[in-house]
C-alpha cells in the first residue's frame, strides 16, 4: 500500500470539508465584514440535523442533507435579522459583533447539546465498500465526500462569480456604499450571505457525518482552525479558502499520522508565524472590521 497516496487521499477528503467551511467563512468575512465566531456551531448543527433526518425522520440521506442545509440557512438568516444587522454599522462594531457571536456560540453549543444530546452519533455510510487503485485503498465513502465537496465548492464559486446575487455580493464586499448606488439592496445581500455562509457550514457537517461521525464538539474544535486558515489565505479570498482548506487537509492527514495529537499545535504555530509576517494573509486584500 502506498502510504503517501493513502494519506494524500484522506487529506483530500478532510481538505475539501475545510474548503467548504473556509469558503463559507470567507464569504461572511468579505461581504458582511465581520468575524463570526459562532460559525463553527452551524457545522455541528448541520451534521446533527442530517442525522435527525436519517435516524429519526427516516429521510433518505440526500433529503436529510438538504434538510440540514435548509435549516442552517434559515438559522443564519435569522441571526442576521435579529442580531447582527443591528450592530454592524455602529461604532464599536467589532466588539459588538464579537460579543454577540460569543453569546450565540454559547447558546448554539449548549442548545445543540440539549436538543441533540451529548453523545456522538453516526450515520450509516451511504455507499459501502472500497476501491483499490494506484495502491490506495479508497473508501467509497471518502470518495463521496470528495465528490460532493468538489461539486458544492464549484457550485459556490460559480454562484459567486456568475449569478446576479453573487455579483451583488462581490460589489458589496468591495464597497457597500457603491453597491447601494448601483441599486443593490445591500441589506438583502448581507442577509443572503450570512445564510449561504452558515449553509456551507451545515452542508459540510452533513457531508462529513457518514464518514467521520458526528460529535457535539466538532464545531467548537474546528472554528479556530477555520478562522486561522482564512486569515492566512486572506480573509476575503475564496481562492485563499480553497488553497488553505486543501493544505490544512493535507497537513492534518500527514501530521496526524506522523506526529499524532500535537499536529494541532504545529499547525497553529505555523499559522502564527505566517500571520506575523503577513497579517493580511497571503492572498486577498484584507478586510475592515472596524478595529486596528
Amino acid at each position: 500500500m502506498d502510504i503517501y497516496g493513502q494519506l494524500f487521499f484522506n487529506g483530500l477528503a478532510i481538505g475539501l470539508v475545510y474548503v467548504m467551511l473556509c469558503s463559507g467563512m470567507v464569504l461572511i468575512q468579505s461581504v458582511n465584514q465581520i468575524i463570526f465566531i459562532a460559525f463553527g456551531q452551524f457545522y455541528t448543527i448541520g451534521a446533527f440535523l442530517t442525522w435527525i433526518g436519517v435516524d429519526k425522520l427516516n429521510f433518505p440521506y440526500f433529503a436529510a442533507l438538504a434538510f440540514g442545509v435548509a435549516i442552517s440557512f434559515i438559522l443564519g438568516a435569522l441571526t442576521y435579522l435579529l442580531i447582527l444587522r443591528h450592530i454592524q454599522f455602529k461604532q464599536g462594531k467589532f466588539l459588538a459583533t464579537l460579543i454577540a457571536s460569543t453569546g450565540l456560540m454559547l447558546v448554539l453549543q449548549q442548545g445543540s447539546l440539549l436538543v441533540f444530546g451529548t453523545l456522538p452519533q453516526s450515520i450509516p455510510p451511504i455507499f459501502k465498500g472500497t476501491l483499490n487503485f494506484w495502491g490506495i485503498t479508497a473508501n467509497i465513502d471518502k470518495m463521496t465526500v470528495i465528490a460532493m465537496g468538489i461539486i458544492i465548492t464549484l457550485f459556490l464559486f460559480f454562484f459567486y462569480e456568475k449569478s446576479r446575487i453573487g455579483r451583488g455580493m462581490r460589489a458589496t464586499s468591495f464597497s457597500p456604499e457603491i453597491a447601494e448606488m448601483h441599486g443593490i439592496n445591500t441589506n438583502l445581500i448581507f442577509l443572503v450571505t450570512l445564510g449561504v455562509g452558515t449553509a456551507m457550514a451545515g452542508v459540510a457537517g452533513g457531508i462529513i457525518a457518514p464518514t467521520y461521525g458526528i460529535d457535539p464538539q466538532m464545531g467548537a474544535s474546528v472554528v479556530w482552525t477555520i478562522m486561522a486558515m482564512t486569515m492566512v489565505g486572506g480573509p476575503d479570498s475564496l481562492l485563499g479558502a480553497l488553497a488553505g482548506g486543501l493544505i490544512v487537509g493535507q497537513i492534518l492527514s500527514f501530521g496526524q499520522f506522523y506526529i499524532g495529537g500535537m499536529v494541532q499545535v504545529v499547525l497553529f504555530v505555523i499559522i502564527a508565524i505566517i500571520l506575523f509576517f503577513k497579517p493580511n494573509g497571503l492572498l486577498g486584500r484584507g478586510i475592515d472590521i472596524g478595529v486596528e
Binding site: I35, L81, L82, I83, R85, H86, I87, F89, G92, F94, L95, A96, L98, I99, A100, T102, G103, L104, M105, L106, V107, L108, Q109, Q110, G111, L113, L114, P176, E177, E180, N185, T186, N187, L188, L191, W224, M227, A228, M231, P235, G261, M262, Q264, V265, F268, I271, A272, L275, F276, P279, I289, V291, E292
Partner: protein, 344 residues
C-alpha cells in the same frame, strides 16, 4: 478625563465605601458558603477588569484565562515542587504571566486587532493541550492538594493561619485594593493618556507621536500580570487546578461580567457584573448547562439593548434609560428587508 473632578471623586468615594462594606461582611456573615461566593466574585471581577484594561486600548482578548492559568500553575509548581512559600509564588505568578505577555507581544500585537483576537484564542487552546500532555504539570486531571497559603507571622500579632475562609477573604480583598490602586495609578500617567487616545482613534494617536504598539504592549503586560497575580491566589484558594478550568468559556464569562456591569466605571462594573452572575444562579440553582445558555442569551441581549452595561443607566451624561435601546425599534427594524442607508 481632565475635567469632571466631581465624577472622579464620586468614583473614589464609592470605591472606598464598597471596600468598607466588603471588609465588614465577614463579621456579620459567618457562612463559608457566602464568603466563598464573594471571594469568587472578587476574583472574577479582577479578571473582568483585565478584559477592560485591554479593551480600553482597542484590544479584545479571548485568551485572558491563559494568563490566569499561568499564574495559578506557576505558584502551584513553585510551592509544591520547589517547596517555596506562597508569598514567593504570588508575585512569581504575576511575573511569569507578565513575562509571557511581554515575550509574546511581537507576535500577538504587531499585526493588529483581528490577529490578536485569533492568536489569543489559539494560545488558549495551546495552553490546555500543552499542559494536558505534560505529566509534570498534572495533565488533564490537574494538580490537586495545593497547599493553603503560608501563615503570616507579623511581630506583635498572632500568627494568621489560612485555615478558614476568612483570611482568604481578606487577602483577596487586599489584592483587589492593590490591583485597583495600581491600575488607577497607571491610568493617571502618560501611559494612561496614551491608552485613552489609542482606544478612541489609533491612527490619530500615531499622528501625535504615540507608539501604539508599545503602549498596547504595556496594557497587555499589565493585564496579564494582574491575571497571573490573582491566578496564584486562586490556585491556593481552590486547592486544585486543571487545564480545562482555564479555557475560553471562562474568558467569555469574564467578558460577560465586564459588559454586564458596564465599562468606564472602574472596578464597579466588573464587580457588579460578576456579583449578578454569581449570586443570581445560586439563588435559582441553575444547572451548568442552562448557565451557558443564559450567559449566551444575556450577552446577545446586552449587546443589542444595553451595550454599555447596567451602570450606563446611571451615567451622568445621559438621561435615565437613554442607554436602553427599545425593543419596539428592534422589532420594527428586524423584519424589514428593504433598502437602507449604509452608514459607518
Amino acid at each position: 478625563m481632565l475635567a469632571n473632578k466631581l465624577s472622579h471623586n464620586i468614583k473614589t468615594i464609592s470605591f472606598f465605601v464598597t471596600i468598607l462594606i466588603l471588609a465588614i461582611v465577614p463579621i456579620i456573615v459567618k457562612s463559608p458558603y457566602y464568603l466563598d461566593l464573594i471571594i469568587v466574585t472578587i476574583v472574577y471581577a479582577v479578571m473582568a477588569m483585565t478584559f477592560i484594561i485591554l479593551l480600553k486600548t482597542g484590544l479584545v482578548s479571548l485568551g485572558l484565562a491563559v494568563f490566569w492559568g499561568l499564574g495559578a500553575y506557576t505558584s502551584a509548581i513553585l510551592v509544591m515542587k520547589l517547596g517555596l512559600s506562597f508569598w514567593i509564588g504570588l508575585p512569581a505568578g504575576a511575573i511569569v504571566a507578565g513575562l509571557f505577555a511581554f515575550v509574546l507581544s511581537p507576535f500577538l500585537l504587531k499585526s493588529g486587532g483581528i490577529t490578536f483576537l485569533l492568536l489569543n484564542a489559539v494560545l488558549g487552546l495551546l495552553f490546555i493541550v500543552i499542559i494536558g500532555n505534560s505529566t509534570f504539570l498534572g495533565m488533564y486531571t490537574g494538580i490537586n492538594n495545593i497547599p493553603e497559603v503560608d501563615p503570616i507571622k507579623l511581630p506583635f500579632l498572632p500568627v494568621i493561619e489560612f485555615v478558614s475562609k476568612i483570611p482568604y477573604y481578606y487577602l483577596g480583598l487586599i489584592l483587589l485594593i492593590v490591583i485597583v490602586l495600581v491600575v488607577s495609578a497607571f491610568n493617571a500617567t502618560k501611559i494612561g493618556k496614551a491608552w485613552t487616545a489609542i482606544g478612541l482613534k489609533p491612527r490619530l494617536a500615531e499622528s501625535i507621536g504615540i507608539n501604539v504598539y508599545r503602549y498596547r504592549m504595556y496594557a497587555f503586560v499589565l493585564a496579564s500580570a494582574i491575571a497571573g497575580l490573582i491566578g496564584a491566589f486562586w490556585a491556593h484558594y481552590e486547592g486544585f487546578i486543571q487545564p480545562n478550568g482555564f479555557n475560553m468559556w471562562m474568558t467569555n464569562y469574564f467578558q460577560l461580567y465586564a459588559i454586564l456591569g458596564g465599562i468606564g466605571h472602574g472596578i464597579a462594573g466588573p464587580l457588579l457584573g460578576a456579583a449578578i452572575m454569581k449570586f443570581f444562579p445560586e439563588m435559582i440553582r441553575f444547572t451548568q448547562q442552562l448557565g451557558n445558555i443564559i450567559t449566551g442569551v444575556l450577552l446577545i441581549l446586552l449587546i443589542l439593548f444595553l451595550p454599555r452595561g447596567i451602570l450606563s443607566l446611571f451615567d451622568k451624561k445621559r438621561k435615565f434609560g437613554e442607554g436602553f435601546i427599545f425593543i419596539r425599534n428592534w422589532a420594527k427594524s428586524s423584519f424589514t428587508i428593504n433598502r437602507k442607508e449604509v452608514k459607518k
